[in-house]
Structures are given as C-alpha cells and as structure tokens.
Subunit: 347 residues, 2 copies
DNA sequence: CTGAAAGCGCTTACAG
DNA sequence: CTGAAAGCGCTTACAG
C-alpha cells in the first residue's frame, strides 16, 4: 500500500526541474521563480513528498534534534513534577523550529556516558544539561564529544573562567530570593524554630536552596541548625519529618525543597496528631498542581518549569545558530501563598 | 579542537582494509578473519570512531529510533506519574538494543498529526500509541504513514477484524480485575454506598475502569449510580469529591481512577471534617510513590507502568524485526492494600 | 534563475 | 575471507 516513499528526484521529474531546484525551493536559500516553485510544491503535494531527514542529516551534518538525558531513578522522575513540565516547555519551541527531542533516562554514570556518545555519533546537534552537580563532568564530556550544550542552573554562573575558553551557556533561575521570601513569611508569622528538608546536596540547585535557607535564617538572627537532607521522594520527606518531629523541641515550621516531600511530611505530621497549619507550618517548592488543590493548599514556589524549558531550548537553538549567550536569567520564580502557613500555636 | 570526525574510510585506511570490511566487522553480517577484525577494532578505537547514525540511517532506511507522542496538557502529564515510569521502562529495553526514543508533547490534534508526519519522514522506525480513544484515528494515520506501531491498552483487544488486515499489536493490562478487587475490598469492609471518580471517558482505559467499576457493583447487587467524570488532575479530584460529598446522603467510599485525584479528594474530605478512613474510605490507581508514603497510605493498584513500557518497547522492536504479535498481556496489575480503607462509621 | 555533478558516510550485492 | 563500486536521498558549490 505505501510502496516506496517518493524522493526528491520524483518531485523534480514531476515538476520538470532539477533536484537542486526542488531543494532550493524548500530551503529558500536562493531565489526560485515564483512559477517554478508553484509547480514544485504542487508536484510534492500530489506525491505526498517530504524530505527524508536522514538524507538531510547526512548532507548537512545537522540532525534537527536535541538530546536530553535524565539521570534519576524512575521513582523520583515520577514524583517530581519538574521534568514533564520542563519537557513540555522545550517541545513548544522545538516543534515550532521543526526540531525533535531525543530523550534518555539512564540508570548510572556509564549509561549516561554511553548516551552522550550515541548522541555524538550524529544523533543530536546539542544537549541540555539538567541536575548539574558540583564539579560535574558532563560539561567537559559533551564539549569533548563536540556537542553544543546548555546548562540549566538555579543560580547565576560564577565569573571564574578566562573568557576565551568556549563557554557553555547557563540558563538559570534565582531560587535564593524565593527561599528567602519563604523564610520571611514564616518569621513574619511568628516562627523562630524553622527547619529545612533539602534535596540531595550534590546537586547545585539543592545546595543553592539550602544555602539560601541558611542565609535567610541568619539574616533574621536565627540559627539554621535544623537541616536534614532528603532525596526528593515522598519516602524521604516522611522520614525527614519524622526525624525532625521526634523529641519535644521540634520545629514549628518546615521548609521543604520540593512539594512531594512537603506533602508526605505534612501527612505524617497530621497522622502524629499535629494540626496543619496550626501546629506546624509547611512550605514546598515547585508548585505542583496537586499542591494547589490540597485543602489547605500548600504554599510553594513556582519556578516556571515550562518557561525554563522553553528558554533552555531557545538558548540552545541560538547557540547552534552561532550566537551563544553566556548566561540567561529566567525570571519567573515566585512564591505562591496558600493556607499551609499560620502563626505557631505554642512554643 | 575536535576537528572533523573520523569516518569509516579513515578506519579502513588505518587498518589496511576496505570500508566494506570495517562495516562487516562491526555488523557481523558476514565473517571477518579474527586477525583482521582485531586490527579494525584497534584502528577504530585509536581514532575514536563510531559510525555516523545519519549515514547508517540513509543506507539502511532504519533510524534506530522509536517515537512517542503524548497528547495531554502539561499539568496532567506532570501530575500523573504514569508517563515517566512508562518512559523509563521503554528506555531500559531500548538502550540495550542501541535504540533511541524521540519524544513529542503536543497541544492539539494538528500538532499531533504533524509530529507523526515528521516521524514518517525518516525520523523514527515505529511508534507506541498511548491513551487510545474510542474510534481513535491514529492507528490508521500511522499505518498510512508507513510507521510500525504498538498500541497500549487497558483491556484485551476485540476479535473483530478479518485476520488478513495488517494488525497493530496491542500491549494490554487487565484493569477490570483490579477494579473489581477494589470494590470487593470495600464491600467486604461493609460499604454499600460506593462512588467512582473516573478519568476522561473518551479514553479507552478510563472507560474500561468505569465499566469495571459498574460491573463489580452490579455483581454485588449494588447500584453503580454515583459516577463522576474527572480528568486526572488534582483539581478535578477535589471538585468531584466536593460534588459527591455535597448533601447528606453521601457515599462512604470513593474509588478514584488515579492517585492524584484520590489524594486531592481525600484532602478535601478531611478539610470538610471527615476522618479518613473512618468516615470515608478511598482508593487510588497507579500506585504512585507518594501514595505509598502518605499516612495512612493510599490503597491503590500498581499497574507496573515501567514493565508496560518495557514490554511495549520489546513488542515494537519485535514488530520492526518482522514478528508481530496480535496481543500481549502485561500481567503485573495488582492491588496494593494500605490504610485508606475502613468499615463505614455510620450510615 | 536553473542544471549537472560531486559529496555527505555508511551498507550491500556482486565478484573473486 | 575480502575488495571495488553502486546506491541510499538529500545539499551545495560550480557553471552558465
């Protein structure tokens, strides 16, 4: 039924022109007589021709595809609502540019390296680096492989490197300010015993939020001495909360590094007899849809995951097009106040 | 710094053989003398050569990539934990086979069609169809485009079609049994007023669960007259719950079609004064990590999203390899009992 | 404004 | 067991 797919040669023949002219008519890289191009488009349409992307890729050394590798455990990808929103944001701009997104979910470092190597074998033009860690090896790896990259971060890039080394653009949000605002909200409500459940501190973004928490506490003359490291799963949110609530001198408020940990923590606190928010105020991070529709809602911070995806994709396309930016700030991070904060009941 | 990537010609020259032999040494499609192959691999290694996938794709008409288009709103993709787990499952088998996954998140039907058309232009070898609807146009669309496909479903395929039409393999779970079990659990606990909050009924899987619910109720001599259609978001879970709880003759148990709706519903019920599970028993679907770590935990059904992804990918690879299955059952659907069910307090 | 031809980097009959 | 060559379907200097 579908026989052999038509080629550019078929279209050329049908339109009575050369293959080169068909190509040019579509790419617009050189003018083609109006009448000619009409004939070409008509022929292509009736043959239902569309250029083979592998042939194009081979001829141009461009794949029209970008790559994204996610190196987290599936449970975490599943609970954290960041990824799908980020990807949807990417897609919106990629689709518009006729580009595709190649996705890889890997289990370990070796699989990750293998994924980038496959990318470099002409599968993608560039990559977006997520979940950057301190001393991350990936920027060097992808550079070595000849892949154009963009890094997603939660803080402005440091100004260390000499300007002449080829620089990987950083697309970043400023999470620190939002975390500061959260702490301020809590302090204003009367809290002084505030804890933080962080994400895995090897991640730059998790460390950045933790540091921001500590700085904000200090600014208010409070001791940031109740910080426990979670891993973004509900399990860790519950366990961290149990640890914090154990004993009688427990905090009256907890700032969680993501919504899932906050929800699990909140549920635990409630089951152990505390009223939310009267006995324990909580805040999340990432503003998931669920948080907005809990009763009471969870105060969280919206980081515009989709906007970040769009900007990251746009920045990567620009870099592929030759104009690299050093750093671009995504300015959509905003605290969303909901009912999960109240004055502390009794110290 | 990275200069031109080495080609198979460079390797051939370095190893003192023809390009064809290099190719054969790697593909193993014909024997190559042990000594020769050693020289070839050594040369390739030292040149850091790996075959260009666009050239391979052009030469073989195989892209080593499969496509997945997701046509849901980003909020829903983000809240529903199915997708990431499904994708992770796919990846595991794809990576092993050296295949890639191209992902597209689309906003509407036109974008979806466009995505499949781009796929057909030699970007992917086959596709997995998710969220199938009644009278879905996509099976025909992709067949027309010459794409090999696999359909993911929540029920066994009907036996209608004449066997000679090229058939699209269906990878399915049997959700009905699990839903029946859920109802039975509730009935055994003493409930008779049981409601259901379904997913969007245009989806085959949502309709299948709704039908299973109705059938189970009927089987127990109960009237399945409290069914409200949700859309899998927390917002709809909360609203549906509010509607069901409004008035005095409200149900004593609610079976939700996914976990997020259940959690939002549970939260709403609690905030309106009901104790969970004493005053209202609830069950979810999909067994998200969060549900397992709530206090009390949410009784849910694990459908093995990752296993389904793996099986779907495996089935697609098989179909691409020429041996198509008519239908393959993924047998991992199991009810996970947690604390969200209790006998009804007072009618 | 258009055509003829080389080239992108592989694979695969065809010979030997 | 191996080589020489054609071919996959495009794009892009080079001529005109």
């Amino acid at each position: 039924m579908h026989g052999a797919r038509p080629t550019i040669g078929d279209v050329a023949r049908a339109a009575g022109v050369s293959k080169g002219t068909v190509s040019l008519a579509y790419s617009g890289k050189r003018p083609v007589a109006e009448e000619t191009r009409r004939r070409i488009f008509a022929a292509a349409e009736s043959l239902r021709w569309t250029a083979s992307s592998s042939a194009q890729a081979l001829a141009t050394s461009r794949t029209s595809t970008i790559g994204l590798v996610i190196a987290r455990r599936p449970e975490i990808i599943a609970t954290d609502t960041f990824f799908p929103r980020f990807i949807a944001g990417c897609e919106a701009v990629l689709a518009e540019a006729g580009m595709g997104l190649m996705l890889n979910v890997v289990a370990d470092d070796d699989a990750e390296t293998a994924a980038y190597e496959r990318y470099a074998a002409g599968r993608v033009d560039g990559v977006i680096l997520l979940d950057v860690e301190q001393g991350d090896r990936r920027p060097d790896l992808v550079r070595e492989l000849g892949l154009t990259a963009v890094i997603l971060s939660a803080e402005a890039p440091h100004e260390e490197e000499p300007v002449d080394t080829p620089v990987t653009p950083v697309v970043y949000t400023e999470d620190a300010a939002a975390v500061g605002e959260l702490v301020e909200l809590l302090v204003d409500a009367g809290h002084s015993s505030i804890a933080h459940v962080s994400g895995p501190l090897r991640y730059v973004h998790a460390a950045a939020r933790r540091d921001a928490f500590a700085a904000a506490m200090t600014r208010h003359g409070l001791l940031p001495d109740r910080i426990v490291e979670g891993d973004f799963t509900a399990a860790s949110g519950r366990d961290a909360t149990a640890a914090l609530l154990d004993g009688d001198d427990h905090p009256t408020a907890i700032v969680y590094a993501n919504d899932v940990m906050a929800i699990a923590g909140l549920s635990y606190a409630r089951s152990s007899g505390l009223r939310i928010p009267e006995d324990l105020s909580v805040t999340g991070f990432d503003d998931s849809e669920l948080s907005a529709h809990l009763s009471p809602g969870l105060t969280s911070v919206s980081t515009g995951a989709d906007v970040r995806g769009a900007v990251a994709a746009r920045t990567l396309l620009a870099a592929l097009g030759g104009d690299a930016h050093r750093a671009v700030l995504v300015d959509g991070t905003v605290v969303v106040r909901r009912g999960s904060i109240a004055p502390p009941s009794q110290p």
